[in-house]
Amino acid sequence: MTARRLPTGGSIDRGAPLAFRWAGTDLTGYQGDTLASALLGAGIDTIGSSVRLGRPRGITSAGTEESTALVQIEKPFPEPMLPATTVELAEGLAARGITGQGRLADRDDPARYDARHAHADLLVVGAGPAGLTAALAAARTGERVILADDDIRVGGSLLDYGETVEGVPGEQWAAGVLAELASLPNVRVLVRTTVFGIYDDGFVLAVEHRSDHLGAAARPGRSRERIWRIRTTTTVIATGGYERPIAFANNDLPGVMLASAAHTYLHRYAVLAGESVVLFTTNSTAYGAARALVAAGARLTIVDTRPEIPAGLDSGCRNLGIEVVTGHHVVTALGTDRVHGVTIAPRRAGGPHVAGASATIDCDLLLVSGGWNPVLHLFSQARGTLAFDERLQAFVAASEVRGFELAGLAAAESAGYDPADPFAFALHPVEGVWSIPLPADGDAGGSDTRFVDVQRDVTVSEILRATGAGLRSMEHVKRYTTLGTALDQGKTSGLLGSGVVAQELGISVAELGTTTFRPPFSPVGFAALAGADRGELYDPIRVTAIHPWHLAHGAEFENVGQWKRPWYYPLPGESLDEAVLRESIAARTMVACMDGSTLGKIDVRGADAAAFLDLLYTNLMSSLKVGSIRYGVMCGPDGMVKDDGTVIRLAEERFLVTTTTGNAAAILDWMEEWLQTEWPDLRVFAASVTEQWVTIPVVGPLSRAVVQQLAPGVDASAAAFPFMATRDAVIAGVDGRIDRISFSGELAFELNVPAWYGQAVWEAVIAAGEQHGITPYGTETMHVLRAEKGYPIIGQDTDGTLSPHDLGLGWAVSKKKPDFIGKRSFARAENTRPDRRHFVGLLPVDPEESIPEGAQIIASREVTIPMPMLGHVTSGYRSAALGSHFALALISAGRDRMGERLFAWSEGRVIAVTVTDSVLLDKEGTRRDG
C-alpha cells in the first residue's frame, strides 16, 4: 500500500462521491478532487509511461506544472493529453494514462465555445493570499477589478498548506475575502480561469472552464470553455512559485514527488501519498510538508544537502521524531516500477561531489525540493526582463513593466500572512543543487537516469552531450535535447536544465540565461480559441434582397467573396452545362434577367468629383455628360489593372461608380486613401451604396418590351434611350433608375431600385417577362455571355500583372489627360515589351472540344520538359451562339498571332486551338440596340 485516503480531513466533499473510470476500472472520488488526488486516494500512483524510454510515470505535482501524470480523457468526450492534476473530477469521467501522445476524437466535438470581452482597472492573476489582498485593496477603492485563478476556488496556497492569515485558518480567511469581493459590484471573480497570454496595452487572455466539472448537470447550450479578452490598466501577477526537482538517478520513478505536492494532497485532499517517506531538500521550505506528513502518521527522514540547518528547524524536527541527515545527497532512487528506497551519500561542503560510502533508506515516497521558481511566465510575456537571484537560485523579475506589478510574499505578509514560523512556506535561501553525480557503484544501471525533463526523457548526460557538441546557448541545448518542449513547456525542468548546463560550462546561470517564455502559459484548446467563429459564423454571409427568391427557385450558389451569388438555376435533373446553355440561349434569343445587386456601387459627389475620377480612371470622366454612362478602367500606380466598371453621371457633381463584386470595399478604401492622404484639397465625398440598391439586368432582344411594360413612363426606344444612357424611372411602381448597360452584348436594361423593394420588383420583372419566356440566369451564364463578347473579368482574366493595353483596353486609356494613377508606369520599358501577354480569344479546331480554364498555351503538340509556355487560358466555355467551345487567354504577343495554331495543355490533354480576337460574337455591336 502506498498512497491512501485518510478517513477525515481535507476540503473535499465526502457527501458527494463521484464515480469515475480509470483505465477500465471503476473508482470513486469526491467533489473537490482532481483526477490526480482521486487516483492517489484510490492507491494509484502510476499513470502512464514515458515517451521515448517507456519508463513508468507517476504523479509529481498537484498543479499546472505537472510533468508526469498525463492522461487521455475518454468520456464524456475524448480530449488528448491533460495533466491529471488539472482535471477536476466529475461524475462519469473516464480517462487513462498515456505514452507521450494523446488521441483526438474521431467525431465532431458537440460542445459550444464562446468569448467575452471585459475591461478592468486592475486584473489580479492568482487568488492566493497576495492576489486576494491586492484585489480587495483595489476593490475597496471602487476600481473595476477582475480576479482570476485557475483553481476551482480562491485561496491559492492557503488551500494547499493550511497556513493562517491574521490568526485565522487560511481557507476561512480566503472565504471571508471572497465574500466581500462578491458583494462589490465592481468586482468579477473568475475561478477555473487560466490567464494564458499577455499582449500589448493591457490586453490579457484567459480561458474559463465552465462545464466539464458539472458533468451531466451542465445546462444544455452552456459554453464549455470561454475565452476572456480582458483589457486592463494594471495587471498584478500573483502566481506564486513552482517547486523545483533535482536530477538524481531514477528521479523519474513513480513515488517521487515534489514536497509541496505531498503537502497539498494531504491537507487539501486528505490523501497521504506515502507511509514511509524520505524528503530530499536543498532548503527549508519543505520542512512544513515534513511536519504535516508526520502529523498524519507517516514516518519521515529528511536528507538535506546543507551541512547545517537553521536551529529552529533542527529542534522542531527532533521534537517530532524526524531524523534529519544533513550534508547528504540522495544519489539514487531505488526501484523499477516505483520507488522503494534511496541510497544517500555524504557530500563535501558546498561541493557537488559525493565523497564516501553510501547508505540505503527504505521508503515508499520520496519527496524532493530543489528550491522554488517564481512563476514569471506572464511577466516575461509582457517583456519584463528576468535576472538570476543567487540567494533564491532562481530567476526573478528585474525590470519594471508599464502596467504590471508583481505580488508575492511581501504582499502576503502585509495581509497578515505569517512567515515567521520556520516551518511556514516562505522563501529561504536555497542552495544551487541541480544534478547529483552518478553513483559510483552503478546502482542506476547502465544508462543515466538523472532526468532533467521527465516528460521528454532528457537526462543530465544528454545535456552534457549537447554542451560537448559545441553548444553554448540554452536555446541550442533545448533543441538538441528537446528539453522543455513537452506539454509542461519546461515549467519545472527549464531552470534545472540551465543549472546543469551552467555547472558544466563553468559559468553562472545568470550568464547563461534562460529560454524565452511564450504564450500560452498552459495549453488551451483549439476549439476554445476558435470560439463561436465556426460553421456559418466562420465568416459573414452576404446575400442580396432577392436571395429568398433564388433559394425558392432552386438556384445553385457560388461564393464570391462573402456573397452568395446564384450560379445557375437548374431545372429538375439539369446539369450545370445544360442549365447554362438554356439560360444563355434565352438571353441571346428572348429575354433573361439576373440579380446583379452584388456589384459594388459607390456614390461619388462634390465639386471636384469629376476631377477626382479623372485621376482615378485611365479614361477621361470629366467629359461625361449628365445622364450618360462610361466604362472605366482603374490601375494601381504600377500601371496594372486594378478594377473596372461603369461611371454614371447622375448630376454635374454627382457620379455613381460601379466596381466588381469582390473589389467593392477595396475600391472605396482606395478612393478614401487618395482623397484623404494625397488630395485632401479635392472637394469629394465617397460613400458605398452597394446594399442600398438592387440591380437587375434585363437582357435579350425582347428585353425592351419587358422594360417598357414595367416602366411605362420611360420611352425605352433606341432613339429615346440610347446605349450608355441612364434614366430615372418608376419601375413596377417603385422610384428607381434604368441604365442602358450591357455586359452581354445584347440589348439590355439594368433596373436599379432601392433594395427594400428588390424582391418585389424582381418578381414583377419575372411576371412581365413571362409571356416572352423570361429566364433567370446566374453568374456562369453571365460569364459565358460576356466572354463571347470578349469582356474581361477582373480577377479571372487578370492577375494583377496586366496593363490595360495587355487586355486590349488601350482605347479606354486617355491620351489627353496629363496624369492619372498608373500612367507613368506605362512608360516603363518592361510595360512596352512586344512579347507581353495579350488578351485574345481561342477557338478549338474541333468545336466540340472544350478548352479547360487554367490550360497552358504551348506552341507544339509535342511536349518536352521544360516546355516553354506562351500564356494560359483564363476563361473557357461552350457557346450556344457560336456553336463551339471557345476560350479567352493571355498569350505572349497574342495580338500578333491572329489565326495562329497553338495548343492548350491541361492535365495531359492537348487541344489544338486557333488564336482569334477576344471579341467572338457581334464585333460590330449590332445586337446592343435590339
Binding site: 467525431r107 552531450r465 559545441g470 536555446e475 513547456q489 484548446g525 483549439f526 480577377g795 494583377g800
Partner: protein, 414 residues
C-alpha cells in the same frame, strides 16, 4: 536513431544529433568571404562556398545564436509548385537538392516527402490551381489536380462537406513536397561547414560595412572590425538595416509571422495541407505535434511576436477544415520576421557596391529554398556573377519593372 522500445510512442522520438557539431572560434582579422547572418541561408551558403568552390576562409557572423531566426521558427514546409518559371526553377532546384541532402550532409534531416495539398475553395481558386498545376508539369515539377474526394483520400480528416462556409472544391497536390526538421537542417549544414574550416561566429552583430572606392572591404562588429574580400548578406528581416550600412536601399518590409504547435498526438494527419483562402497550413511533425502557420501581421515589426487575434482566426479556420482538431491544445506560439518584397519574390543579387551580395526578401519561402539558395548564392559570390537560376531575382527588377509577381499570380504563399 529512432527509438523502438516497446511501450514508447510510435514516432515520438527524434534521431540523435551527432556528438560534435561545430567549433566556437573567435573571429579572425581577415576572411575571403564574410557572410552576415547565421541562419539557414547563411550557413548553407558558407557550406557550398567551401565544398563546391573551395573557398574555406569564410566567416558566418550571427548576432544571436546560430539558426535562431526564421530557421528556428518556420513551419518547415518544402515544395516547389510555384507558378512562374523563375520561381519554380529555383524552388525545384532546391527540392532536388533536398532529395539528396541527408546523404550529402551525413545528417538525419527527417526529410519526409509526404506531399502537399493546396486547397481550392472557390471557382477562381480552382482556375488558379489548375493554371499552376499545368505550369508546374510543363516545367518538370510534379503536380496534379485532385478533386474533393481525392483530397479526402490523401488526408482523411479534411472536411469536404459542401455545406461548410467555404467548401473544399479540390486541391493541387505535389507528392514530392513535404517537411523536414529545421534545426537538423541548419545543424547539418553548420557541422559540415565548420568541418570544412568555416568559422561560425555567434553573438557577433554587424554594426557597419566598410566600403572603399565602391568596393566592400570589411565589416564592423561588436567584436571588432573584420576585413573581407567579399561580403554576402543573408540577414532576412534585418537585411534593410544591414544593407543600409552601405547606402543600399531595399524594397523590403519586415512583418511578424506567427506559428504554433499542439501537444504530441497520435498520427492523424499524413500529409501537409495549405489553404490560402482560409489561411491554414498544417502538418503533423514527426513527434506528433500539429505544426501550423498563421497569417502575416499587417504592420512592419521586428518584435518576433504578433497579435493574438491572428491565432484565434487561425484556430477557427483550422477547425473548419479539420473538425477533429477541436480538442487539440495550443501548446506554444511564436513569431518570426518575414521580409517581403513588392512582388513576393526574393532578391538574390549583385549590388552597386563591388564585392557585396544580397540574398533577402524570401518572405515565407526561405526554409524550403535553403539548399537551392545556398548553392546558387555561393555560385553568385564565387563567380561574381548571378547564377542562372537566380538571375531574374535582381534588385534592379524593381527599377525596370521586370517583376516576378507571385502575389499577383495568386500563387499560394508559405
Amino acid at each position: 536513431m529512432l527509438d523502438t522500445t516497446p511501450g514508447t510512442a510510435p514516432g515520438a522520438a527524434l534521431p540523435d544529433h551527432p556528438d560534435f557539431l561545430w567549433r566556437n572560434p573567435d573571429p579572425k582579422k581577415v576572411y575571403d568571404v564574410v557572410i552576415v547572418g547565421g541562419g539557414g541561408h547563411g550557413i548553407a551558403t558558407a557550406y557550398y562556398l567551401a565544398s563546391r568552390y573551395g573557398i574555406t576562409n569564410v566567416a558566418v557572423l550571427e548576432k544571436g545564436w546560430l539558426a535562431g531566426g526564421n530557421m528556428a521558427r518556420n513551419t518547415t514546409i518544402i515544395r516547389s509548385n510555384y507558378l512562374w518559371d523563375e520561381s519554380s526553377g529555383i524552388y525545384e532546384h532546391s527540392l532536388k537538392m533536398w532529395e539528396g541532402l541527408e546523404e550529402d550532409l551525413g545528417y538525419p534531416l527527417l526529410f519526409s516527402q509526404r506531399g502537399v495539398l493546396n486547397l481550392a475553395h472557390s471557382l477562381q481558386d480552382v482556375r488558379d490551381s489548375k493554371r499552376r498545376v499545368n505550369a508546374n508539369v510543363l516545367n518538370g515539377v510534379d503536380a496534379e489536380w485532385v478533386d474533393a474526394d481525392g483530397v479526402k483520400e490523401l488526408c482523411p480528416i479534411v472536411n469536404i462537406s459542401p455545406d461548410v462556409r467555404y467548401p473544399v472544391l479540390g486541391a493541387t497536390y505535389q507528392p514530392r513536397a513535404g517537411i523536414a526538421k529545421h534545426d537538423y537542417v541548419a545543424w547539418g549544414y553548420a557541422r559540415a561547414a565548420s568541418a570544412l574550416g568555416v568559422d561560425l561566429i555567434q553573438n557577433c552583430e554587424v554594426t557597419g560595412l566598410d566600403v572603399r572606392g565602391g568596393r566592400v572591404v570589411g565589416v564592423q562588429t561588436n567584436r571588432g572590425t573584420i576585413a573581407a574580400g567579399k561580403v554576402a548578406l543573408a540577414a532576412a528581416g534585418h537585411s534593410s538595416v544591414v544593407a543600409g550600412f552601405a547606402g543600399i536601399r531595399l524594397p523590403l518590409q519586415s512583418h511578424p509571422l506567427q506559428a504554433l504547435v499542439s501537444e504530441l498526438l497520435e498520427p492523424v494527419h499524413p500529409t501537409v495541407v495549405m489553404s490560402n483562402a482560409v489561411h491554414v497550413y498544417v502538418s503533423q511533425a514527426h513527434k506528433g505535434e500539429l505544426v501550423m502557420g498563421a497569417g502575416v501581421d499587417s504592420y512592419n515589426g521586428f518584435g518576433q511576436r504578433g497579435a493574438f487575434h491572428i491565432i484565434e482566426r487561425q484556430m477557427s479556420a483550422a477547425i473548419e477544415l479539420f473538425p477533429v482538431f477541436a480538442r487539440a491544445h495550443l501548446l506554444r506560439t511564436w513569431g518570426g520576421i518575414v521580409d517581403v518584397t513588392p512582388d513576393a519574390s526574393p532578391i538574390v543579387s549583385l549590388t552597386d557596391v563591388s564585392g557585396l551580395y544580397l540574398n533577402c526578401g524570401w518572405g515565407t519561402g526561405g526554409f524550403k529554398a535553403t539548399p537551392g539558395v545556398g548553392d546558387t548564392f555561393a555560385a553568385t559570390i564565387a563567380n561574381d556573377a548571378p547564377h542562372p537560376l537566380v538571375a531574374a531575382f535582381t534588385l534592379d527588377r524593381f527599377r525596370t519593372g521586370a517583376l516576378v509577381d507571385e502575389h499577383g499570380a495568386a500563387a499560394v504563399a508559405h
